[in-house]
């Protein structure tokens, strides 16, 4: 029987292969793609799309999404298992989809620890105004990627041969689109306008409508090779409402859009050589009948129990109820703590926590370096009126002990950063010369080629460099002052905290030791000791009083994640659910391993200790107990004890509750490598940019439990994303193409892929194999002509 089964399986595989080669392969070999149209759908989850595709509308007797069914399900190829490679959050996720490169942008907002610069990636308004004032040319995310030399997919095409809609990674602004949007919106009949006035104008859609008009018009131009259209409609709706009807409406608008675009493609000259792609950046953890519950981390960190921090966010909390919430330029909001133990009234100068809760199922937390807090408290103690000399001397000694402990590290920072800033100054000089040589006026042809924008980019970058040079120099100056300080100087003069502790700076990242013993204030005893908080323990112990939904746990925090510094343990990520349920994700030459542990702690000297734990349910990512883990239960212990490639992990875990969490966490915390010793200016500038990325990393990420979120800006009861829960990471990727493109029809790909596969697949489809091969992602071979024969 076994032999018969084996033979049968072999025969069936052979038949499948023959069919593939006989039917698909010849078509793929002849494939020719001259144009790609990408519909970018923010936050459309695979499971909701599937639900609506399968639903038959009782009125039309067709699928609820008839065009997606017609174009992609029947006439194209669907990927059943397409995942976000990092946290399921728009800015990081679109950066992967738009570049095909490893993750560089790790949140919707990031903060620079030294300069307090806010990378506010999702605020369009300052960008538009800055663009109008000739001070900006690209969205902030594009600027960061440009500084690292990472091109967008659109950059592979000539400027004149591409059409980009309004989106997160946007280059330039087409005023004409905005200019034409409203007049076109109001160009309906008087009767229709009266109806709209009564029902409610949907002005928000006017720009999208205009973009669609322009995109459809561009389709008639055969020289245009790349077009995209971005819509965030579904994401907005699903955050607000979990009911199927509301979400269906949002999807049906997208469906109708796809119908119109597809019809326009079909009637265009390049119909046969055009590929239409629909892709979403992440899924959405939404379930009809369940409200997503918010937990306010801002209030926690403000409170005495949470450390009484002055907390900075990039938006006002509950902004819809505040006049200041109307400020469209806001990128930095300080929420002071009334209970601060040593910084009362100094919230503007000395915030001690930076919080990015945007993304909702996770929050990034940056605390001021715990030793900066200690120095600050000690300085207050040293300057306390009436302090006796013994205590003062002890405080001064403790102050210098801390400085000495950091002396090597800080000296290296001062040395290296000074070199980098010197190189930056030289680059600025050169840039000024370059700018002078640029034309002052541009011909229409030059504008069409995007040369005016390229020129403006030089000026914008120079402005940014100037700001960076100023801010980093200020931080270096404060750090140098601390390093140069001698104990005896305290006898000669009075040092206020403001003289020595850099304002609006977080200092270096906290170690695990710091976070387990974080200094939040002076000790009640008044001696040279501090009040401390163990943050991992505090966060995991949070519970709420009101638990009115059966399917929602009483604990808002699922686990926290942070990188263990390379010098302590090779490229490991520590996941903490509670003291007894922790895990390490380690990487080694591309392979990954997941180990369950407990009681991880770090000593003050940096040594890390932990106990190995037996595999059991309840550890972070809950892999062991997951029935969808594609490893037989009996083999699991053995399987987890060994290293596996990324692909093996993806195959084994993608259908589990946390899908590709292991790989995504690895991508999120990808070790950028030590900052190398370099000497030439380009290398120094490269290291500077690499350093700035490192400085934008948070101390740790907090992941929310299922149906919990950390939104503080307003309320997101409909659903959220940001975690590794499969509902949030499972995205959509659909292809359809004209007769010559070779895109298979009525074809479902079950092989799992992730965000990194997107760009190389598009490039390969368009015959740009050399450029695709340089990217780290695995192209989707099932739809590609060149690699079909050779496999991945």
């Amino acid at each position: 029987v076994i032999v018969a089964h084996a033979l049968l399986r072999a025969a069936s595989t052979l038949v499948s292969m023959l069919l593939f080669f006989a039917v698909l392969f010849p078509a793929l070999l002849q494939a020719e793609v001259k144009r790609v149209v990408i519909i970018k759908l923010d936050g459309v989850p695979e499971n909701v799309l599937e639900r609506e595709l399968e639903r038959i509308d009782p009125l039309t007797h067709k699928s609820s999404l008839p065009w997606i069914e017609h174009v992609f399900a029947q006439g194209g190829t669907r990927l059943d298992n397409f995942y976000v490679r990092a946290i399921s959050l728009s800015t990081p996720s679109w950066s992967l989809l738009d570049t095909g490169q490893h993750l560089q942008i790790h949140g919707n907002a990031e903060f620079d620890r030294y300069t307090y610069h806010v990378y506010d990636y999702m605020n369009f308004f300052p960008f538009y105004v800055g663009y109008a004032r000739l001070r900006r040319v690209d969205m902030p995310g594009v600027e960061v990627l440009d500084s690292l030399g990472i091109p967008l997919l659109i950059d592979y095409f000539p400027y004149a041969a591409s059409y980009q809609s309004f989106q997160l990674y946007q280059r330039g602004v087409r005023w004409k689109t905005l200019q034409d949007a409203l007049p076109n919106h109001f160009s309906h009949s008087l009767r229709q306008l009266l109806d709209e006035w009564t029902i409610g104008f949907e002005l928000g859609s006017s720009v999208e409508d205009q973009t669609e008009r322009e995109l459809i018009a561009k389709l008639s131009d055969p020289s245009v090779q790349y077009l995209d259209y971005f819509t965030g409609d579904f994401d907005h709706m699903a955050h607000a409402a979990s009911d199927a009807a509301s979400q269906r409406l949002a999807l049906q608008r997208i469906d109708a859009l796809i119908g119109r675009v597809w019809s326009a493609i079909e009637s265009s000259a390049l119909a046969a050589q055009t590929v239409l792609v629909a892709v979403s950046d992440h899924g959405m953890n939404t379930q009809p009948g369940v409200y997503s519950q918010g937990y306010n981390l801002l209030q926690l960190f403000n409170s005495r129990a949470g450390g009484a921090h002055h907390v900075v966010t990039n938006r006002h909390p509950l902004d819809e109820y505040k006049l200041s919430g109307l400020d469209p330029f806001v990128s930095e909001v300080v929420t002071p703590s009334d209970e601060s133990l040593y910084l009362k009234g100094q919230a503007a100068d000395y915030p001690t926590a930076l919080l990015d809760p945007d993304g909702n199922e996770r929050a990034s937390v940056y605390f001021r370096n715990s030793d900066f807090n200690a120095l600050h408290i000690l300085l207050l103690e040293i300057n306390r009126p009436g302090i006796d000399s013994t205590k003062r001397r002890a405080a001064i000694a403790a102050f210098f002990q801390i400085i000495d402990r950091h002396r090597d590290e800080w000296s290296a920072t001062v040395r290296e950063l000074s070199d980098e800033l010197a190189a930056l100054r030289r680059a600025m000089e050169q840039r000024r010369v370059d700018i002078k040589s640029q034309p002052k006026k541009w011909t229409p042809a030059q504008r069409d080629a995007g040369l005016d924008k390229a020129s403006r980019r030089l000026s914008v970058q120079l402005d940014e460099w100037s700001e960076q040079e100023r801010n980093y120099s200020a931080y270096l100056s404060a750090l140098s002052k601390l390093l140069d300080l001698e104990p005896a100087e305290f006898d000669r003069r009075h040092f206020a905290a403001e003289d020595l502790i850099p304002k609006r700076a977080m200092g270096d990242a906290n170690s695990i030791y710091d976070l387990q013993n974080y200094i939040v204030g002076p000790s009640a005893s008044g001696s040279v000791d501090f009040e401390r908080i163990n943050y991992p323990r505090l966060l995991s112990s949070l519970t709420v009083r009101n638990n009115v939904q059966a399917g929602v746990a009483s604990r808002p925090v699922d686990f926290i994640a942070m990188r263990i510094p390379a010098e302590s343990r090779n490229n490991s990520i520590w996941l903490y659910a509670d003291e007894d349920h922790q895990a390490l994700i380690s990487s080694r030459a591309g392979d990954l391993r997941y180990t369950v542990i407990r009681n991880l702690r770090q000593d003050a000297d940096g040594a890390i200790h932990y106990d190995n734990a037996p595999l059991a349910p309840g550890f972070p990512l809950r892999l062991f107990e997951d029935e969808n883990l594609v490893v037989p239960v009996a083999d699991r212990e053995q399987w987890f004890s060994t290293w596996h490639s990324e692909l093996e992990w993806l195959h084994a875990t993608h259908q589990t509750a946390y899908s590709n969490g292991i790989i995504a966490l690895h991508e999120q915390f990808l070790e950028p490598g030590a900052l190398p010793p370099v000497s030439s200016d380009p290398e120094l500038l490269g290291r500077f940019n690499q350093r700035r990325r490192l400085l934008a990393e948070p101390d740790f990420l907090i992941f929310a439990n299922d149906h919990w979120n950390f939104n503080v800006r307003n309320f997101n009861p409909g659903g959220n994303h940001g975690s590794f829960l499969r509902a949030s990471t499972h995205s959509i990727l659909l292809f359809a193409g004209g007769a010559d493109t070779g895109i298979p029809r009525h074809f479902e790909i079950r092989e799992p892929y992730d965000s990194l596969s997107f760009v190389p697949t598009i490039l390969d489809l368009m015959g740009r194999h050399t450029e695709a091969a340089k990217l780290p992602g695995r192209p989707i071979r099932e739809i590609l002509p060149a690699r079909a024969a050779t496999g991945p």
Binding site: I199, Q293, N546
Partner: protein, 581 residues
């Protein structure tokens, strides 16, 4: 209170057992070839008892079916809100008093047929009527002095507010009926189809807006989707806001779901034991509108309503016999409506009965100055009234307490007591049934049909002057033979209109009709239109567009045949129809 207690015993039999009230629609044939469709609310207690006698009729719709079973020629006509009553003389008088923010007694019996809330066949009538009323007020009544101006304006405002309150209550019922209809999607029967329900909902809702009656039929579906989605978003937003505020302030949050739909009200409680242990705790009252409970001596010595609830170790509400359940003595603080935009609306403050009313009075006074800013505040509690009057299963004593507080909230002299509404609705329904069985409704139907036929066959000028002519001729006489002919003619026109509307809808849905709609249904409409002698160039043009845009060969053939049929008539050549779509 005794009366309320009785209603509670009847309606709220299943204490703490989260009832699911049943909404159903029933069709009854009436004279003249029409149907009376009635929406009933079946309270949970009645469901348990298996009796339909206790069902409360809340809404009735007249569907003119021309006496057949074919839905293609049906037209919806009058809509009656059965809880809406004509005012008593005292209510009328009190309605004219400025600042008369009190209930002027409650109607005990209502034996007359209620006035229709809307005529679905002519929704624009109410727009012109209202505009005429506004003009009359501004040009004739206002100049007569302050006394006349103030009394007439107050009377009209109260009357308008009362009607709106009733409409919102009806919408709440339709919303719940829609949920129950959805449950029937996979099987079962409902007298009101989904599209009719959407139409009634939209028209009723739009009737509260100045030009709502002028909104064209093709935009109703969009309006319905927009509105229902907005309600879901508002409820979710307020649910979460209130839960978070409860959490922040150490209170207990209890959402109340009236039907199988989403929660529309919520209660806040405080634990008696917490009052002792957390006395003086910080209280952030933003969005809650109630006084600090942690420093309130009234609560420290609370003798009002309280309830012992049981919670498990995760603080989830459980039954008393659950292992590990611990009891908590809870004091209710406030009831909120979750339907109000942006923030939950305080409906009842258990410590200060008049507090919500005071807020409302201030707002209502201010509304007079800045009309429109506060939106529907004045009618913010129809959902709660509905919840309590119809289908709550709260602890009866708590419900009495809530009804008392909601009755205190009454600002409109025309409002009836919550407890009376079920009785009044039943009595009005009985009167309506009597009217439906009489010749008066048949005559009204006949009159409406003639007008409708004229809208198809006569010019607008004729129709404008026809009512004057009818005044002299006293209208057409009943003639059974003529009536049969009229029905047949109307049937043809209605079918034709239905098919054309359908084809317009199909063409508006996307560039390829066959992709978005079942081709058999489209083909049937095309064939029916081509067979219809009344179908004109517009129908021909629609068919030509379907022909040009479809990719389905069968449908194209059907369109081609239809166009050929049209070609044989002296209308428009096929080629011209196709090219000039």
């Amino acid at each position: 209170l005794l009366e309320s207690a009785f209603v509670c015993l009847v309606l709220g039999a299943g204490v703490l057992s989260r009832p699911v009230p049943e909404y159903r629609s029933v069709s009854q044939p009436v004279a003249g070839g029409a149907e009376l469709l009635t929406v009933f609310v079946r309270p949970n207690g009645a469901a348990a008892a298996g009796s339909q006698d206790l069902d409360v009729p809340v809404l009735a719709v007249l569907r003119d079916s021309l006496g057949d079973e074919d839905p293609d020629n049906d037209r919806l006509r009058s809509v009656w809100i059965l809880t809406s009553t004509r005012p008593t003389p005292w209510q009328r008088a009190a309605s004219a008093l400025s600042f008369g923010y009190f209930r002027a007694g409650s109607k005990r019996h209502a034996g007359r047929v209620p006035t229709p809330a809307i005529d679905m066949a002519a929704p624009s009538k109410s727009v012109y009527g209202n505009l005429f009323g506004d003009a009359l007020q501004a040009t004739e009544l206002d100049p007569l002095g302050m006394a006349v101006r103030s009394t007439t304006r107050t009377y009209r405002t109260n009357s308008d507010d009362y009607n709106k309150l009733q409409v919102f209550q009806a919408l709440s019922n339709l919303d719940n009926l829609a949920v129950d209809n959805l449950a029937l999607e996979s099987g079962g029967q409902s007298a009101l189809t989904d599209s009719q329900l959407r139409e009634i909902y939209s028209r009723l809702s739009l009737s509260t807006r100045t030009f709502g009656g002028l909104v064209r039929e093709q935009n109703l579906s969009r309006y319905y989707n927009q509105e229902t989605s907005r309600i879901q978003q508002t409820r979710g937003h307020n649910w979460e806001l209130l839960r978070q505020r409860a959490e922040l302030n150490g209170l207990y949050f209890e959402p109340l779901a009236a039907a199988s739909g989403s929660p529309s009200e919520a209660l806040l409680w405080i634990a008696r034991s917490d009052l002792a242990s957390d006395a003086g705790r910080h209280f952030d009252g933003q969005f809650l509108g109630i006084a600090n409970p942690w420093t309130d001596p009234l609560l420290m010595h609370w003798t009002g309503y309280s309830q012992v609830r049981y919670f498990d170790s995760d603080n989830r509400p459980v039954s008393q016999d659950t292992p590990g359940a611990h009891p908590v003595d809870m004091i209710p603080l406030a009831l909120y409506s979750l339907n109000y935009p942006r923030v939950p609306l305080l409906l009842a403050d258990f410590r200060h009965s008049l507090s919500p009313k005071r807020r409302e009075m201030v707002k209502q006074g201010a509304t007079g100055l800045i009309t429109g800013v506060f939106g529907i505040t004045r009618y913010g509690n129809p959902g709660a009234r509905q919840f309590l009057a119809m289908d709550s299963s709260l602890d009866p004593a708590l419900k009495i307490e809530l009804q008392r507080h909601l009755d205190h909230l009454a600002l409109n002299p025309r409002e009836n007591e919550i407890a009376s509404e079920a009785t009044l609705a039943r009595e009005q329904y009985a009167a309506l049934l009597q009217y439906a069985g009489s010749h008066r409704l048949a005559a009204k139907l006949d009159q409406d049909r003639r007008k409708e036929l004229e809208s198809y066959t006569r010019s607008p000028t004729f129709r404008a002057f026809a009512p004057i002519g009818r005044m002299f001729t006293r209208g057409p006489r009943p003639d059974p033979e003529f009536d049969l002919g009229l029905r047949a003619e109307l049937d043809a026109y209605r079918r034709s209109a239905t098919h054309m509307r359908f084809l317009e809808q199909v063409l508006a849905a996307g560039p390829r009709p066959d992709v978005v709609w079942d081709t058999d249904t489209i083909r049937k409409s095309v064939e029916d239109l081509s067979a219809d002698a009344h179908a004109g160039p517009e129908a021909q043009s629609l068919i030509a567009q379907v022909y040009a845009r479809t990719g389905d060969s069968d449908l194209r053939s059907a369109c081609w045949r239809a166009l050929q049929t049209f070609n044989q008539r002296p209308l428009m050549p096929v080629a011209q129809a196709v090219s000039g779509q």
